[in-house]
Symmetry: C3
Subunit: 416 residues, 3 copies
């Protein structure tokens, strides 16, 4: 592993002060970025998208991870597969569209033909002794859990079953497999991917930046500033939800003000999911708390609180009774992160009749775009030669600190 952790990185890992934001090169140095790709992005399970985006055999979308392009597709047997989007002949991209439908994978350069499982079917004009069986498209492990698709660029991926169990049990009632993407918006955020995660791992910034979000939620409170009144409101909401949700088999699994703790840096728990309550008057994470689309999944009533899921290094989802919002991060350079935010509704819902994008989108579109501004301003500051790591709040940034420890543990090879 020393080849992957060159001297500069080794030095940075030694000098990093605990409980503080990272040393500047972690957020901007091309060598650290390459290490992040090698030690995180090419080893972990990466959230790719939703099964409902590729309902039929031959449906595909492509996912850019750094300079790699991965095709995620539904094969002839109805399974989900992930293949490097790269002809084995002379390296051409095979699909240059972001998504589409095809029967075979045909390279546009010289028409080498591959099946949907990646096997080389036809290489016209090549010598007879070509080892065709060795020249299939490079496949990578793929898994789906309740409609969420993951792949891993390492042929020996980390364990996935426990993650599937934890996320699956919370996700199941939401019905993401019977959903559709009503809208997806792509952003190219001018910040290192870790700054985007740090921003996501605390609601300390919410009061100053997310007025619509704080009205709906309890996350922005914490031990230090949850008044007895607020704590009682949350406890009341949880108590009432328990009574009301019982018949639906739902239960709040996060019951305190403030954010649930995630990740677990020491045990490398990179996934989590829970259900929690919304603020009084909120049935959905929308601008006014009212529902904006038909109920999803098994829900019989809008009163189901809110589902939250997240998995490192690149996924979070908030789902209400009527819609879900998935956020996917992908590294696009030392100081650039490609983000896709997708709004999901029941697959039978019709735009204009059952839902309206102008009501569906603003809550999370605002929250997301407010955060990208924050992250880009922080990235610009961190470029300054005067930047020094600053202290995390033990009250409000415990999850940021946990994320940073999880990250450093990976770079130090502690989980290798």
């Amino acid at each position: 592993m020393n080849a992957i952790r060159p001297p500069v990185l080794t030095d940075l890992l030694q000098r990093q002060p605990p409980g503080h934001s990272l040393l500047a090169p972690f957020y901007s140095d091309p060598e650290v970025y390459r290490a992040d790709l090698e030690l995180i992005w090419k080893r972990q399970w990466i959230f790719a998208g939703h099964e409902c985006e590729i309902p039929e055999p031959g449906d595909y979308f492509s996912v850019p991870v750094g300079e790699d392009s991965i095709l995620v597709l539904r094969d002839e047997q109805g399974g989900v597969r992930a293949l490097h989007n790269l002809c084995r002949h002379r390296g051409s991209l095979i699909c240059d569209q972001p998504c589409g439908q095809l029967h075979k994978l045909v390279c546009p350069y010289h028409r080498w033909v591959y099946s949907l499982d990646g096997s080389l079917l036809h290489a016209p004009g090549m010598q007879e002794e070509l080892p065709r069986e060795d020249l299939g498209l490079i496949s990578v492990p793929a898994r789906a859990v309740e409609g969420l698709i993951y792949f891993c660029l390492n042929p020996a991926p980390p364990e996935f079953d426990e993650a599937a169990l934890v996320m699956g049990s919370v996700a199941r009632p939401q019905g993401l497999r019977q959903a559709k993407v009503a809208k997806a918006v792509d952003y190219l955020v001018g910040a290192n991917w870790k700054l985007v995660w740090e921003n996501n791992r605390e609601c300390y910034h919410c009061n100053a930046n997310h007025p619509q979000y704080t009205r709906a939620n309890f996350d922005h409170y914490n031990a230090d500033d949850s008044t007895p009144r607020i704590r009682e409101q949350m406890a009341d909401a949880v108590r009432q939800s328990e009574a009301r949700w019982a018949r639906a088999g739902l239960a709040a699994s996060h019951k305190q003000t403030g954010m649930t703790t995630f990740p677990d840096a020491e045990r490398n728990i990179w996934y989590s999911a829970n259900r929690t309550v919304l603020a009084d008057g909120y049935l959905s994470e929308t601008m006014d708390g009212r529902t904006v689309a038909p109920l999803m999944g098994v829900y019989q009533s809008p009163d189901v609180g809110t589902v939250r899921m997240r998995s490192l290094p690149n996924f979070w989802n908030h789902s209400s009774c009527d819609h879900g919002v998935s956020t996917r991060l992908l590294p696009a350079g030392p100081e650039r992160t490609a983000v896709r935010v997708s709004w999901l509704v029941h697959r039978d819902a019709e735009e204009g009749k059952d839902y309206d994008l102008t009501k569906l989108m603003p809550f999370w579109q605002l929250t997301s775009e407010q955060d990208w501004v924050i992250c880009e301003r922080q990235q610009r500051g961190i470029r300054s030669s005067a930047y020094r790591p600053g202290p995390y709040s033990t009250y409000k940034e415990y999850n940021v600190d946990a994320f940073v420890r999880w990250y450093l543990n990976h770079l130090r090879g502690n989980f290798a």
Copy 2:
């Protein structure tokens, strides 16, 4: 030479598998790009443009090779010269226009004046003891053959006479010296210059990508898929051409289906030229095979087949009875190639009367632009960390393999 072939490059040269596309860094690494500039572009004869572009003394055009700018001009004696476009005083560019006409070369910064042969004539305001004779513009060797201008950035260039003989004898009847550039189009292609050459060195991709080209030509056939019928068509065409062309002193020098072999990697033959037949019904490389401009050169009849010339590292030309098309490549970065495609017609032909750009250009404009799309898609694929060199077809990519061997021989110093 070790300074020019640093450790990374040495390692790449050792690891490169024969018969396969190049290892990824050859197509994208800045260090390899610098080696390409030093070992190829600054040592070989580079095609610059056409004599007919600078008919009168003082006419010039500039040629960007990497970060160098070379002025190609006609001097007072009517000769062709090449000079670095760089004032010896403080390094300003002298001409910042791509072409023009001037009597002296005057630096716009402080008005140092140079003659058209590069001598420093006047340096107003400088001290008397200035060694004016040492401060002329830096001249580089230049040669012209039948209207095609070449220069070499090395003061001790490779031998040119044999190239002039070979290309000259084929080019002479075409009359490029009595031509004019009807139109030139500049492209900045997002691919390494070697990918552009690899694309040019096979017609394996033609069926899938160049419908107009394959109707006019025999290149896209090869040993493995030229049916007896096709081979007989070509043989017929050659036989008939021999009978008809004899009185004009023309003869097909490439007589088989498929591409003529080029380059000769072992003997470092970097130039070639031949005349061959077009498909039945084609008098010119145009969309419908009909001529689109007056006959060029010594031709008395449109039935002259097609002239092809090419020289490494940066030139190819296809000429029909009525027009010629020159393609010039210049390196513009590890993953960028500046390409100029020029359409030439008889110098007396008048646009709108004797020819029409909408009929003259499409055949090669389409072919060129189709190829740039291919090259850029391939470059994007090769950036993937999953890219591995793939096998060349021994039937259809022998010239690609020969180009790659020619290139590697230069980088290994085998011709030094």
Copy 3:
């Protein structure tokens, strides 16, 4: 200091020929650029702007030096301060506007609050044991002289008092403290900052490039080409000015044709200021020599010649009786310089009534923009692999040579 002067730079410093333009890497290499930032820009006094831009407590503007952002503001006591624009918590920029007004400095991320002197006043949600006294904004030394604001990024700055004395005595009558910025124009010039200075340190290029400038001034003449007639004109102008200016307490301090000598490379004199005469018929540096705004400062008559000030590494100013023009350079990359040109008039002057931008601006806007074209053309030439340092004119480029020696002395650590 060896860490700052790595091997490549050491080699360059040894190879640099005296009396010649710099070796190419000094103008383009990222490593040299980093050394310039460390050894020049982070050690010298940098001109920031004008006191009149921040008249009231809480007024601020930001200054980008490389990747650093410095806030220059007026504090509660009316003093001028400079602070790194960088929250000590997680490194966010605090102000992302180029200028404005505020009462406290509040980080937009988590609302840490700092006073105008940089002290941390409030860090809501942080642990009690936070060492608040160590977490103030990072302050850097700032000075103002007659309305010109300077800061130094080094906490131990070079001596300033002598500079203040020299520039202050010449600047005082001009009344820049009672001025306002009528207009500022920002340029991003595609040239290394040293090329911009070299251009400024000679008027050898003026005849060929600045027709409006040469009509108003005597700088473009020099020992070799000032005819007796021209020298007599200048002497006459100086004699007459002495007689006329006496009662106003003004005197020409530069009395010869050609430019005043600056800098003094051996004694590290990085500032200078003088008053000199304009050409016959010119009362102001305007297109026709006529005044274009009310008299500034203590002037009772327009006949005051012209004030010139300059300080390395980033400031020059030409001021006439009725307006002043300040030029500020900031490094923005190895081959990019951010330039702001500011036109100042008396603070009581009203646009449209007392002055008109279309008459105020052209003289220096033309001169500036003509120079940026020159600098960018030179930068492009210097990128050529054929560039070699060229000889400076001992008659006309003595100040360019002095600037280069000053620069090299700093890089060699001769003043450290």
